[in-house]
């Protein structure tokens, strides 16, 4: 049942220790900073976090990692010039890393939302990221078996929501939002604007409200 929630604190209040949390965004674009800050304030810990990166600078996901709340990162690109908090935790052996090629990350998230139990992809075949994985020769090439990534919660950022929870995004900030919304049991969205139902053209809705549980407007 869709809820419109007044504060980011209330929106993330139900996230339990040990949860798998998908966090939208590619770099800073589409990263739901206010929801992440609220998650940090909530004290939830022992989290598995799914994001393309592993935090930048001293904000958002980077702080969650710094504070030791993240047990495991599932991501494609943890190492950046300003990923010092992840780097430190990783080198200290205090955080687990599942490194996933970005397309496999996206497709595995999509598979979870679409009810696909696993799929074969050529990406990664013959590399160390496919070591120990089942491979088959299909469509004229070797392909690796990959499984869906499900989550308890998704935290994403959109531009607008209507009263039915339908979402539209803005430019490349769309990135992982739509597929994470579908892959998580409970999807929490921060938006810049809530518009009346009927104000979004049904042809242009990107995430239908069926994938959205909680919406909070962030100034």
């Amino acid at each position: 049942m869709l809820k419109f929630i007044d504060t980011v604190g209330e929106a993330v209040a139900g996230i339990k220790d040990g949860s798998t949390v998908m966090i939208g965004g590619f770099g800073n674009a589409g990263q739901p900073f206010e929801l992440i800050d609220a998650l940090l304030d909530s004290g939830a810990t022992d989290l598995t976090v799914v994001n393309n990166n592993a935090g930048q600078g001293d904000q958002g996901l980077a702080l969650l990692i710094k504070e030791g709340r993240v047990r495991k990162m599932i991501c494609s690109f943890p190492r950046q010039s300003d990923s010092w908090h992840f780097d430190a935790k990783y080198k200290a052996g205090e955080i687990e890393l599942e490194l996933v090629p970005q397309g496999n990350l996206a497709e595995r998230i999509r598979a979870a939302g679409a009810g696909i139990g696993g799929f074969f992809t050529p990406t990664g075949y013959g590399t160390m990221l496919a070591e120990g994985k089942h491979a088959r020769f299909l469509d004229g090439k070797w392909q690796v078996f990959e499984t869906p990534i499900h989550a308890d919660v998704a935290l994403i950022k959109a531009l607008k929501a209507d009263g039915k929870g339908n979402l539209v995004y803005r430019k490349t900030a769309r990135n992982f939002g739509p597929i994470m919304a579908a892959a998580a049991k409970h999807t929490i969205v921060q938006v810049s604007e809530i518009v009346p139902t009927g104000a979004l053209d049904p042809e242009n809705v990107v995430t239908p409200g069926i994938y959205v549980n909680s919406i909070v407007k962030v100034a």
């Binding site: 009810g115 049904p202 069926i210």
Partner: protein, 228 residues
């Protein structure tokens, strides 16, 4: 308290009304072709139900009439329909991802047979000369959180359609959670088939018609029943 809630069997419209009343507010629902479509006539605005049609839409409105008819806006039964505020369109893979990913709260389907363990047979008579056609039935049966079946309890020959094992080709295995019939509402769960209410017959009379062991539904044990 007797579980007989009507002195007569329910007609199709009364049954549709009952199904509609049982759908939780805010649910996302897919109504199959035929009898299940009648349910939409009894959904109230307060229920705030969103209807899905597998050919690519959420927020489907009532059947289109007169000038509303638009060949580009049809439902899965290829009937012209209308669009409600808050609707959305998507392509077929995205539409079936909604169904197959377990995002629909309820789908309501017709059936030839339902087994005591929730197997569904509703797509093929198995007749050797029949041209098979399945459409989205298997995806709905397997994907929705709850699968409600609407059917008459008995065939024209008086045989029960609620059976121990389906003799017709299956649509899905162990997928049906409730069966709404003219004579009773059945709840199918891991511990067997319970009868929530009967129409025009007593529980004992019902049991004589149905070749699977039935148990009257005990509300206190409701937590153990799938779909409640």
């Amino acid at each position: 308290m007797s579980i007989q809630t009507s002195t007569t069997p329910l007609g199709r419209d009364d049954l549709a009304q009952l199904v509609a009343r049982d759908i939780a507010p805010g649910s996302f629902v897919n109504l199959g072709i035929g009898q299940p479509t009648l349910v939409s006539n009894y959904l109230t605005e307060e229920q705030n139900i969103t209807l899905h049609t597998e050919n690519g839409m959420l927020g489907m409105g009532p059947e289109a009439k007169g000038e509303e008819i638009d060949g580009d806006l049809i439902n899965a039964g290829k009937i012209p329909v209308t669009e409600l505020p808050g609707a959305s369109y998507f392509h077929h893979a995205d539409s079936f991802a909604i169904m197959r990913g377990g995002h629909l709260d309820i789908c309501v389907l017709g059936a030839f047979q339902v087994s005591a363990t929730g197997d569904l047979a509703n797509w093929h008579t198995g007749a050797p000369d029949a041209i098979p056609a399945v459409g989205g039935a298997m995806d709905l049966a397997t994907g929705a959180k709850d699968v409600f079946v609407m059917m008459t309890l008995l065939t024209r020959d008086g045989a029960s359609k609620l059976v121990d094992t389906c003799s017709y080709p299956l649509t899905g295995v162990g997928c049906v959670t409730r069966v709404y019939t003219d004579k009773a509402v059945f709840l199918i769960g891991p511990d067997g088939v319970r009868v929530r209410e009967t129409f025009g017959c007593t529980f004992e009379e019902l049991q004589t018609l149905v070749p699977v062991p039935l148990v009257p539904f005990d509300e206190k044990a409701a937590g153990a029943v799938v779909g409640l």
